[in-house]
Amino acid sequence: MVPTFVGITLIGFLIMRLAPGDPAELRAAGGLGAAAGGGISVEKRGAVDEAMAQWRAQFGLDKSLHVQYAVWMKNLLTLSFGESFKDNQSVWGKIAERLPVTVRLNSWSILVVYLVAIPLGIYSATHPNSFADQVSTLTAFILFAVPLVWAATMALVFICGGDFYYLFPPGGLESLDFSDDWSVWKKIKDHAWHLFLPVVLLSYDGFAGLSRYMRASMLEVLRQDYVQVARAKGLAERVVVYKHVLRNSLIPQVTILASILPGLIGGSIIIETIFSIPGLGQLGYESVLARDYPTVMALFTVSAVLTLIGILVSDILLSVVDPRIVFGRRLQ
């Protein structure tokens, strides 16, 4: 656990630091607005070098790399992520504000994927090579191959208002006049309406992967001897499948959870950017561009922690679900 943690933070740190580019410069130029929009303001360019040196000293950027890393780690141990370069806000505050949004988005996505892919996989496995199996396989592949950036842009253009149809809002988490004194039901509806498209877009390519995995896993189990035995004993096919086979083939699906969590931050970057959703992905992207070192480092760290939690959780779940482990313990 610990080496993994150190490794990740170190990599994150090194990459941010070794990359060229100076955050002080960015502050001087008035943020990223000048890059995209108009020109640099002539007046602001006046003798600012001294100002930048001052700013760098304030954030400890003028010390050597090892010292900076050590200082950062030390702060970490006291649970302080420091302050963002962009706006002096506490980095943890910014992350805490956005974490629930990303978690919500991704949890729904994971749920949707499992809800769709598992039954699909089961059906494919129990009716292998049938027409339905082949069609669903092909569809899954097609979905898998559609580039996310394309699908998202097309969705935004065609069904989110603008010139064509207005089925869903073009972004954001809640309506403009969202108010805290709405009824719970109204609030839920509003959030669901806003999240529907992002969740679907985030999930569609997972259908393929997981359903194929489920199918393969079930097929593997179906070939095992004890399944033949169960059939020979006269158990109904249905019972065989849903009681014995399913349980055993679900086991590997649990381990996938562990690999999903690190993708939490990266995976939503595109969706959050296109749909203006204030989550961690968007924060990460903006922070990288703004060279907001403390925030980027913090995000790497958070990602590391999430992954380790994921591994832990999936190990626990595994031991709960896997009868060999459970019975093994009982026998002892």
Binding site: P3, G7, G21, W150, I265, G284
Partner: protein, 358 residues
């Protein structure tokens, strides 16, 4: 859960256990594989698509170019496209009358042009954002550049990114996996930790960080995708090595004193390749998707280069110009799909357990 952005080869199929595959005919393992592969019509289609793309990539200069194959001018005949290659490697020069000339406007010249008589970079400010027409089959972008030419030349980038990225991933993955699986014990422990770290890194985030901060270059992008996606391959390799290492023929080779390196790469590796191959094919598809995501965000691609992803990037700024989105989007989609189908087909052929159910 987004495959599109996560590490290309981290998608793992059901765990592989290839026994050394029994050969059905005398033609050797691979011709046997090919014969069985051919029986799957879907996978075969995928294979043909991949081949067409490869052809397009290789011969892009002959398919879309604004200088002709052959031209007769002032009584002399020339082969401009070939000549451009020659001049490019500094082995020749342009004759004075052909220096920087626009063959289409050259008076008195009779030329045979390639089917798409444009270069992807030829700017024509008078024809911006034109929908598909007889003149420009796929329309033009905001600087009047022909989209079809861009698509054809862009296939080079997309495919090479796929190959190079995965190539790097394969090299790293196989080496690390082999070492871990062969030596076992604490070596395996350390290397497995490294796997864990790599898996825990938010890859797409890392990609963006590096690609956005460093000067854009296709090679850099390829290298980074490769360096973040080798874990799947490494794990397969490791598992295979762990299993095969204990087989009789290996233990006897070691007992006979064959060096470790020879054992690993001459005796074990050839038999451990099956799952790797499938990963490679899927990995190429994944790399193409990642690259399209990066170009879409506008990072990783140098300004002058036209790639499928960069055309898509333009599309987001001109949403009425559907041809900017449809064609590259479709191209990426078809390419990725083709590779997946080939990969699936290969897996079905190489995995002995599934074969039993056909």
């Amino acid at each position: 859960m987004s495959r599109n952005e996560s590490s290309p080869a981290s998608f793992e199929s059901a765990e592989f256990e290839t026994a050394t595959v029994a050969v059905e005919s005398a033609g050797g393992l691979w011709s046997d594989v090919w014969r069985r592969f051919k029986r799957n019509p879907i996978a075969l289609t995928g294979f043909y698509v991949v081949s067409i793309l490869a052809f397009m990539a290789l011969f892009a200069d002959f398919l879309a170019n604004d200088i002709p194959y052959y031209s007769v001018y002032k009584g002399k005949s020339y082969f401009p496209i070939f000549r451009s290659y020659v001049v490019g490697v500094k082995l020749g020069r342009w004759p004075a009358e052909l220096l920087n000339v626009d063959f289409k406007k050259l008076e008195g010249a009779k030329s045979i042009f390639p089917p798409i008589p444009y270069r992807p970079s030829s700017i024509s400010l008078l024809e911006p954002l034109e929908p598909p027409s007889a003149k420009h089959w796929f329309g033009t972008d905001k600087l009047g550049r022909d989209i079809m030419a861009g698509m054809i030349h862009g296939s080079r980038i997309s495919l090479s990114i796929g190959f190079v990225a995965v190539g790097i991933a394969v090299v790293i993955g196989i080496i690390l996996g082999a070492i871990a699986g062969y030596f076992g014990a604490w070596v395996d422990l350390v290397i497995s930790r490294v796997f864990e770290i790599m898996l825990s890194i938010p890859t797409f985030f890392l990609l963006i960080t590096v690609a956005a901060l460093l000067p854009p270059s296709i090679f850099l992008t390829m290298a980074i995708i490769g360096m973040t996606s080798w874990v799947g391959i490494a794990r397969f390799t490791r598992n295979e090595f762990l299993r095969i290492r204990n087989l009789d023929y290996v233990t006897s080779a070691i007992a006979l004193g064959v060096t470790d390196r020879k054992v690993m790469f001459k005796h074990i590796l050839p038999n451990a390749l099956a799952p790797v191959i499938v990963s490679v094919v899927l990995g190429i598809a994944g790399a193409i998707l990642v690259e399209s995501a990066l170009s879409f965000l506008g990072i990783g691609v140098p300004a002058e280069l036209v790639t499928w992803g960069s055309i898509l990037h333009e599309a987001s700024g001109a949403t009425f110009a559907w041809w900017l989105a449809v064609f590259p989007g479709a191209a990426i989609f078809l390419t990725v799909l083709a590779y997946y189908l080939v990969g699936e087909g290969l897996r079905e052929v190489l995995d002995p357990r599934l074969r039993g159910l056909r």
